[in-house]
Symmetry: C2
Subunit: 133 residues, 2 copies
DNA sequence: TTTACATATGATCAGTTGTTCATATGTAAA
DNA sequence: TTTACATATGAACAACTGATCATATGTAAA
């Protein structure tokens, strides 16, 4: 019934009802938006960015990663769990050592887009665009 | 002097010195990694994801946005400031009303990549891949 | 088995983030 | 100028995040 829309207007006064209705129809749900946000959240930390950046170039074990990015092994291990949970990295075991690498190429593309966005303001970004594929 | 490297090994015992040295050479700096992380951080919130998703389809004013995503106008205004600061949206004024829209197309590409990553596990993601360009 | 070592996990805590409520700003009509 | 309205901003607070330290797990050599 057409009246149900009216109730909303008591709480939030929108100005362009047609536009709002149209956009609402193709709107992403709360859960879906959360899933997308979670992917970006996984990339939204300096330590994890450096870890993924290193893994773009070569598979590395935990203590190598710690040495490369200058963080503690415990910290790296904790962050690797987050990356694993979100399926951005995978690992293989060789004896006592776990070798981590990127799970797929989406991370690379995400980084490239972010670098292109950054390169509008920051000169350094261009050099890395050449570097990653 | 070649000995300086030796000091590092007292703190962090890395196993593959050559690999670590090679990756270190092309490593992104702390500040640069932080800049990239900040871009992803801007996208790492459900409310902002929904806002950007809405703006992909049509320019909208603050109260329209609030109505579309079901949040308070104050909350939307706060989040818009974050999106403005990070240059993901821009606005034009028409009388009392501010119309917001996407600043450029990088957001769309970033969303597409995230959706492709998500579509490995989540069936809903594919439908939005068709929707956004 | 012990022992050593690579890595994972749990608890704690400071720092950050997002929402809400209250208040301020800026614009235009009356 | 008042008034109304669209939006911005500030303060306060709960929830979340990441680093650290301590401890546990799993693997392989001794």
């Amino acid at each position: 019934m057409a009246n149900e829309d009216r109730f909303d207007r008591c709480e939030i006064s929108c100005i362009h009802e047609e536009a709002v209705a149209a956009v609402k129809q193709t709107m992403i749900s709360d859960d879906e938006a959360q899933s997308l946000a979670d992917i970006f959240k996984t990339l939204a930390d300096r330590t994890r960015v450096k870890m993924l950046f290193a893994l773009m170039q070569k598979e590395l074990c935990v203590c190598d990663l710690a040495a490369v990015i200058g963080a503690s092994e415990s910290s790296v291990s904790h962050q690797l769990r987050i990356l694993r949970t979100n399926k951005l990295v995978r690992f293989r075991r060789d004896g006592k050592i776990l070798y981590y690498s990127l799970a797929d190429d989406h991370v690379i593309t995400l980084f490239r887009q972010a670098l292109e966005h950054a390169s509008h303001d920051e000169a350094w970004a261009a050099q890395f665009l050449d570097l990653i594929k």
